[in-house]
Symmetry: C2
Subunit: 210 residues, 2 copies
C-alpha cells in the first residue's frame, strides 16, 4: 500500500496520526519526571528520547505543544532538570495513564499510583518502580518553527542501572531489565534478543557475537 | 549501580559509549538510503529517527559527524531527499554491516548485498528487501553546537506499508511486518506485543484494548 504526499494530507486526522506514528519504527518508552519550584510533581510518558552523544552524555527529547506535555515543559524550563525512567513490563498501565489530561494541580504520580523517588540534591522526582533511571540537566531548548514542537537537549548527570544487567563492556541488558518498546500511539512490546553483532569493518563479513 | 556526572566522564571511552547508548531505551533500526547527484548510492544504519509530527508528517534524524555518516549527510544536503527503510529480521547482518567505514566510491548496497529499489521521480534509493519504507524531503538542517551532530527534519512524501499489516485505524503492525528494535550499539531484538491501550483519560482507569 503506497501513500503519496497528497494522499497522506487527505487522510482523516486520527487515521493519519496512527499511520505516521507507526512509521519511525520501535520507540523507547520513557517516563519523564519533573517538579515545579514549589515541588508539585508531574510525570509524562514520552516516546521521543533520542541519543545525541556519549561525551558529554546527551539525550534529546521532543515535547509536543499539547496540554498534556506542557506541564512537563514548563517544569523543565523552571528548574532546569528532569528525570528519564524506563517503562518496564511491570507498570505499563500506569505509565500509559500518565498521558491523560490531568489538571495542573494533580500529580500523575498520585493519579497513577507510581511512587516518587528523590535523590539528594536533585530537584526532579524519579520513578520508584523503574529499574533504569537518569537525572538530566537541561543544556539547550528550542521551539521548532516547522510545527511548534520543542527540542530539548539534556546532559545525563546521574544514571542508575541494575548491577546484574550491566555488562563488563558497559552495555546494559535493557531487555533483561524489563524495559519495553512502544509502537504507534498505544502499543507496548516486550523484546527478545536476536543477535548481537561485532563492530562492522569493510574487510570483514558481518559477525554475530557470543 | 549509580553513576554520577564525574564518574561518567571518567569512564573509558568505549565503556562509556556502550553505557550511554543503552540508556535511551529501545531504538528504531532504520536504513537511510541516499544518492549523490551522479547517482552514486549510499546506505547507512541509523538508530536516531524520531517522530516529530503527523500533520505535516515529519520525522527528525540525528546524524553524527563521523566518517561513516558523513556520506549520508552530504548526499541529503546535495539532493534534498532520502529514504528511511525499516530493518527487519530477514536482513539484520547486512543492515549492521552498512556501519562499516566503506570508501566514498563503494556503495553499501553492493557491499552488503541489499538491493536498490527506485521509485519514479524520487532521487534516493529504497531498500528492496524492506517491507516498510518512506521517501522524505529535507525541510530543515542544523548543526548542533553542543556536540557537532546534525539535526535533520524531513517530510514524508511517500510511505509504503504492507497492506496485510495496515489496521483499519491507520496503525501498522510493525511487529508482524518483521521490524526489529535496537539497543545500545549492536544488539537487535524481535518484539512481542504485550498490550495495546485505549486512549488515556483522567476519569477512566487504564484500559487494555482487544
Amino acid at each position: 500500500m503506497l501513500f503519496t504526499s497528497t494522499e497522506i494530507s487527505a487522510l482523516e486526522a486520527r487515521y493519519r496520526a496512527a499511520l505516521i506514528n507507526s512509521l519511525s519504527g520501535f520507540k523507547p518508552a520513557n517516563l519523564v519526571g519533573t517538579a515545579n519550584r514549589e515541588g508539585q510533581t508531574n510525570l509524562a510518558i514520552i516516546s521521543s528520547v533520542v541519543h545525541l552523544g556519549s561525551h558529554p552524555p546527551l539525550l534529546a527529547l521532543i515535547v509536543r505543544p499539547s496540554p498534556v506535555e506542557r506541564h512537563t515543559l514548563e517544569n523543565i524550563l523552571e528548574t532546569g532538570c528532569y528525570t528519564i525512567n524506563h517503562v518496564s513490563d511491570q507498570f505499563i498501565e500506569a505509565a500509559h495513564q500518565t498521558a491523560a489530561r490531568y489538571p495542573r494541580e494533580q500529580s500523575e504520580f498520585a493519579a497513577t499510583g507510581l511512587g516518587e523517588h528523590w535523590m539528594e540534591g536533585f530537584a526532579a522526582p524519579f520513578v520508584r518502580e523503574a529499574s533504569i533511571r537518569m537525572g538530566l540537566e537541561l543544556r539547550e531548548h528550542r521551539q521548532l518553527d516547522i510545527n511548534d514542537t520543542h527540542f530539548l537537549i539534556g546532559e545525563i548527570v546521574l544514571a542508575e542501572v541494575p548491577q546484574g544487567h550491566l555488562g563488563e563492556d558497559g552495555s546494559v541488558d535493557i531487555c533483561a531489565a524489563g524495559t519495553v518498546a512502544l509502537s504507534g500511539l498505544d502499543s507496548y512490546y516486550s523484546t527478545r534478543r536476536l543477535r548481537r553483532m561485532a563492530y562492522a569493518k569493510p574487510d570483514l563479513p558481518p559477525t554475530p557475537l557470543g
